[in-house]
């Protein structure tokens, strides 16, 4: 596994933990008022989408044909791009 991929795999769970903590603060705020909780919204979204959902893709097994698997993963994004 390349060094960069190792860093991605290691940092993704950390981003998930911190991003979820911010999300939990926002959700707690809907029941118990926490001043300034909504200021965390942008960070929450960025950490869990870029930090977790995108970086964790590097942990996906690529099997015996890494190039094919990477191509397949890239194709997987096409529907999202088209619908956007």
């Amino acid at each position: 596994m390349p060094k960069l991929a190792r860093w991605y795999v290691k940092t993704a769970p950390l981003y998930l933990a911190v991003g979820t903590l911010f999300g939990a603060i926002i959700l707690w705020n809907k029941g118990l008022t926490i001043p300034g909780a909504w200021l965390l919204l942008a960070l929450h979204i960025a950490l869990v989408t870029w930090g977790w959902l995108l970086l964790s893709q590097w942990a996906w097994p690529t099997g015996s044909c890494p190039a094919g698997a990477r191509r397949a993963a890239a194709c997987g994004w096409l529907p999202a791009l088209i619908s956007a």
């Binding site: 190792r6 959700l27 029941g31």
Partner: protein, 145 residues
């Protein structure tokens, strides 16, 4: 595939269907939609990102991470099962609490959402703690190989 991974994947697919339907309705902008559907937009996003994508990653991670030496193949499985049930009960509570809090705010509904947040946060923290040693050993094994 381990039983727990099957549960994660099946639950993820269910969330995909529910979240997709809800997001489609909430974003359709069609006239005459009840305001509660607009209040359900955060739930739709979370069904798709937490319920579908994250749960799918959890299920695959549980299956693919290297076995720890000694003991059962994937270690003690009960904390991973706890992650599954906490994450899904947190999502379910949110699914009930979010529209209720929007329509009929009260002490009960005000308690549901913090409880949902706590369950989901605990599930994520347990997952990270469970997988951290395996992430380290996975990276080390690939370096050595």
């Amino acid at each position: 595939m381990p039983k727990l991974s099957c549960f994660f994947v099946k639950s993820a697919l269910l969330c995909l269907v529910l979240g997709g339907a809800l997001a489609g309705l909430a974003l359709s902008g069609a006239g005459g939609l009840p305001p509660v559907l607009l209040a359900l937009r955060p739930l739709a996003w979370h069904l798709l990102t937490v319920g579908w994508a994250t749960q799918l990653i959890f299920g695959v991670a549980f299956r693919m991470f290297p076995h720890m030496p000694g003991g059962p193949p994937r270690g003690d499985e009960w904390p991973a099962w706890l992650v599954f049930w906490m994450l899904n009960s947190g999502l379910a509570l949110r699914a009930v609490g979010e529209p209720l809090a929007g329509l009929r705010p009260g002490p009960v509904t005000a308690g549901l959402l913090p409880l949902a947040a706590t369950l989901q946060l605990a599930a994520v923290l347990i997952f990270v703690l469970l997988t951290w040693p395996q992430v380290r050993s996975l990276a080390g094994r690939h370096t050595a190989g």
